[in-house]
Symmetry: C2
DNA sequence: CAAGTATATTGTAAAAAATACAATAATTCA
DNA sequence: TGAATTATTGTATTTTTTACAATATACTTG
């Protein structure tokens, strides 16, 4: 290979995942406790160097997510690439950041191959992160805000069956803004892609709420009709 | 360096720009005629390998754009990174795609250091592009559609002074959809970030249109008030 | 200079969507 | 049985969107 070209083929590329989860305490991010250098013993976004022989950025990000959660078929999407010159102490490493949503309820620490090293952190109380991970996280947070208003991805963060109040709390947590109960329900129901399951909460010491589920097929149908999701 | 690490530091990273321009014929993309291998003598997106010693993806993309147009201060934004295993015949090359908007009127082929090799192509009549450039272009086109509805970036594609009809044609070309003249004007003017310059067209053989300009300060003010641009 | 040509500009009524606002209902627990 | 707690629902007002066509202004030509 040409000497000129040679000088270009000396970069590494990694992926880093910003994994969001939602529970009664609000929005959380899944961080791992690094067991290896650099930045050993620091909480960081879960990520890995891409294996140049076998992986694309997408496949590498999916692998990280799968290893960490033991779950398949999660929502994941590329955010953007970060490439500051000094972002990695070992050399020139570009990182492709990803954005994932998981149902906290389905996630069990035990299923993870990095079990004891993973932990949920409330998004408003993150530790200082290594590399440019704070920057990546902030970018992801903004993206989540934007996406939630345009696409019905909120359901990826809720259990299969959920109440309208839970859905409202989710939107409020993400958008950092409160909605009127009546108007929120009217709007969500008018969009017509959640379905009443006929089930109710039980063992709650108040009027039990109806349980709904997200109906992807209805959503898909609306989209092909040029529908504009907005909140 | 560790052998294990060594195997990761063998990638190259490039940037590729999808540069949009607008004229009376509609939306165009700027392509260059490749003078070097691979894919010599093919029309392709302007791009370059990132110099690992000196450049970030952003700075590299700006350089490509500047070399090509001779212009400063253009609108440019990252799209996403593409990294199929076989996308480049010389090895593992990831490419960070960018999206740029330029005022065709300000662009002169002469100013370009690649002068004779650059040419505008109507977006609905592109040649077959090398690498994964067709995929990148399609992605960019969708992104443009999305962005134009959310941010006042259309003005980056128009001369400093423009008529409302030109603005409408621009939106129609990008969104592939026609708008009612009265409603379009009402909406645009209600947004209140374009200003009447007091000037008019001349030497047109019909009623001359008023010339407007984009008022960034007004827009910025609106945004801080939580305004939602939408069309 | 009058008529013709071509595009620019403007208003209004009806329908739809967004907003503001509070009373009643269903369950558990004591 | 009533107290506690959260779920559920409707209506009037305002704002936004939509549908729709007549008049205005410049240039050109005869």
């Amino acid at each position: 290979m040409d000497v000129n070209l040679q000088s270009h083929f000396q970069a590494a590329v990694s992926v880093d995942n910003v994994i969001f989860g939602f529970d009664t305490n609000g929005l959380n991010v899944l961080l791992i406790y690094r067991g290896a250098e650099p930045y050993r013993d620091r909480w960081a976004l879960p990520g890995d160097l891409i294996d140049l022989k076998t992986d694309t950025p997408d496949s590498a990000a999916v692998k990280v997510l799968r290893n960490l959660t033991g779950l398949e078929e999660l929502y994941i999407d590329q955010i953007r690439t970060f490439g500051r010159l000094d972002r990695h102490p070992y050399g020139r490493v570009f990182t492709v950041a990803y954005f994932a949503l998981i149902k906290t309820q389905d996630y069990s620490v035990e299923a993870s191959s990095w079990a004891e090293q993973a932990e949920w952190f409330p998004i408003d109380n993150l530790p200082e992160l290594p590399f440019d991970h704070n920057e990546i996280f902030n970018y992801a947070k903004e993206l989540l805000k934007m996406k939630i208003r345009k696409q019905p991805i909120g359901f990826e963060l809720l259990p299969k069956h959920f109440t309208l109040t839970e859905l409202q709390r989710l939107y409020e947590a993400i958008l950092e803004k409160e909605f009127d109960v009546r108007n929120f329900r009217k709007k969500i129901l008018s969009m017509d892609f959640i379905t009443d399951t006929g089930l109710k909460q039980h063992s709650v010491m108040h009027r039990p709420a109806k349980l709904y589920r997200y109906n992807f097929r209805k959503y898909a149908k609306l989209m092909t009709g040029g529908y504009d999701f907005d909140l």
